[in-house]
Subunit: 408 residues, 2 copies
């Protein structure tokens, strides 16, 4: 690695590197500052400024912008003047697609983070077992860590998460007495909601130890242990027969190499007479998941193109009944999270080091930017087997009365 | 071809052939009768009887059941005792998938019916230029020859077709003054509906001469010629810039070899700021389209797996916003058509030969059975470019007030 102190200050090499970075980020209106020297963007009026601490950081950004920016931002070697989300939106819109180096590195990462049952446990532990107290700082009261649903403008995050759970239950047309299996249940909010409000029996699977413990405590507190069973196990080990399969925000952790196994787990659980819902972060086209996010935030994560997710159903002849794209609801959801996160900044810094706090801010801001620029989408898919009982002929039951959350 | 008169009546060979046919149709409760000799199905109580006129027809059914049954039924060499639709549902549920012979023949058919611009014209002419008077016998008053939408049980076919057009217009969130391009406009009902009821300007393309002539007459009668232009041309020749792209029941005629061209036509018309809707007969998995239907009814037709249809959008980065499966609405629609067709049987026979009338009855009955058994699906996909103006955050506007058709 070059030692920045030995480089000629603002000399030819630095100008050349900055020029190359401008080529990569396209016509983004960003001034680059290196150790105080300003390089305005060629041909556009600057709206943002990125201050890069030293020449070696600048080189990192050139060599591997994806990892380089994430690492340098987390470590405070890069600062952004202006709104971080808007800066990322701007750059996402103009930046060039992944280069050969990034594509190769992505493949390598896929291989070593491959979600085998053992590795899945490590990958999930990395993220979800950070401590429930951390998530309590910025999620809603029920710790629902997936896209909320805002059918009314003025809804709070807590209301919108309940509205989302209700929207899902209505889409699945749950009837009292039916059985539901949930793959990847988080802290258990949906499983409890289904049992409490729809009278169904739920078996909910998750491999995050802390989440399962928390969910079990909630079930005991609510006297729902007879109706909801929380099981600390992999989706591949789901056993039993159910009427309904539901998975909210887990497909992202399955990884494309394992979609066949995932489809088989669905078919084993509900056969041809069942139905279900998948809710997941997807895309409009196939592309790699951010390597920095996979390195620091979500090991093993992958957001499938809608087409790839639908391939999960094909071998089993499931019919897709309904797909809804809630992309813009996720923008609003993460804006709430980021806002709460910023307000809890002091507490986050007391719990973890600054580097962690900056990495998570970047992850949340980058996620908003990803949904804002349509790089990321949020799909809910309702599917049913060929022997499923007739479901509603239209979707008007989802919209019949205004959704009044039971808990505000 | 064997001469049936020389075969030993009901001998070993006949029994062997019947046995092979039972193997193909699985455990369907169907008695096979050949020249008066009855062969009950092995191990199940018969619910239907298929009477086969002679041994050579029996051999045709063995050699190529798909084409054989269609041809023999049309020519009256096969009769079905019992409800034709229910018979087909029963057989579809138990019949074995296509054999190597059928798959190879299907490929060959794809090749010679390939929808090049010239061949498309012939293929479309074959079906849609049979004479408007024929279609008037059994379609609704506006000649809408695609799946209707029955949001209320008691709706007539005429009302349900208007409800369908309205559902589509609402999904596309049409605003007065916007411009719409329609690929494959049939007899023009949707184009006129959009212009009349939503104040948009429409350019509608179709390569069926009779349909375009009819649509132009209607536009003149309704004084809508300033708002709707009907153009007798291929979707590949669509020119101009529009806000919205819509295609209802045409993707089935595009053929999978041409999905890229179709996607390019969409992108040329509406760019990244546009939005649109595709409505088409699709499937839950990839399989060939009935060869008999392609031979006698719809040359060049192909029903894509949902995944394949979504691939149309991927190269252009369109986001899928909404997918609705209207399969069961199509069952009801074709039940209406078949009912009207049966009541007009006398007139159909006066216009065409009996063979034609029987072929069309089989096509309509087989289509109901296809949707009934989930072999066929009906998808409506709403999509939008990344620069599209913000559309509604929820779908409740599709369900807000009961849809009251303007024309009953």
């Amino acid at each position: 690695m070059q030692n920045s102190n030995r480089r000629p200050q603002g000399g030819f090499v630095e100008r050349w590197v900055v020029g190359k970075i401008f080529e990569t980020i396209g016509r983004a209106p960003v001034t680059i500052a290196v150790g105080g020297r300003q390089y305005p963007p060629p041909g556009v009026e600057p709206l943002f400024r990125v201050s890069i601490r030293d020449f070696s950081t600048l080189l990192e950004l050139l060599r591997d912008p994806e990892i380089g920016f994430g690492e340098a931002y987390s470590e405070g070697r890069v600062e952004v003047d202006g709104d971080l989300v808007q800066f990322l939106v701007t750059v996402y819109e103009t930046i060039k697609g992944p280069r050969w180096y990034s594509r190769a590195a992505s493949r390598w990462m896929e291989w070593w983070q491959n979600n085998t049952p053992r590795r899945s446990r490590e990958n999930i532990h990395h993220h979800y077992d950070l401590g429930n107290d951390f998530y309590k700082l910025w999620l809603d009261r029920q710790l629902v860590y997936t896209c909320a649903y805002f059918p009314r403008e003025e809804m709070t995050l807590e209301q919108a998460q309940i509205a989302k759970m209700d929207h899902i239950c209505r889409k699945m047309e749950l009837r009292a007495g039916e059985s539901v299996v949930e793959a990847g249940c988080g802290w258990g909010a949906l499983a409890l909601h289904m049992a409490r409000n729809y009278g169904v029996r739920v078996k909910a699977f998750n491999i995050s130890h802390e989440q399962i413990e928390y969910a079990r405590r909630r079930a005991r507190q609510e006297n729902l242990t007879g109706f909801v069973e929380f099981i600390e196990d992999d989706y591949r080990n789901i056993s039993g027969k159910f009427d309904v399969f539901v998975s909210v925000g887990m497909l992202e952790h399955v990884g494309e190499q394992h979609y066949r196994e995932f489809g088989e787990a669905i078919h084993r659980s509900i056969g041809d007479a069942g139905r279900g819902l998948l809710h997941f972060i997807g895309r409009s086209y196939k592309t790699q998941f951010s390597r920095w996010i996979r390195k620091r935030i979500f090991p093993g994560a992958y957001a499938p193109a809608l087409r790839e997710a639908i391939e999960v159903f094909e071998p089993h002849g499931y019919s897709v009944l309904d797909v809804e794209n809630l992309r813009r609801h996720y923008i609003r959801t993460i804006e709430h999270w980021l806002d709460r996160f910023e307000r809890a900044r002091g507490e986050v810094r007391r719990m973890y080091e600054e580097r962690f706090e900056r990495a998570w801010r970047l992850y949340l801001a980058g996620s908003i930017a990803g949904f804002e620029t349509s790089t990321l989408q949020l799909f809910q898919i309702v599917f049913a087997g060929t022997k499923c009982r007739p479901l509603a002929l239209t979707r008007d039951h989802l919209y019949r009365e205004p959704c009044v959350p039971a808990m505000s």
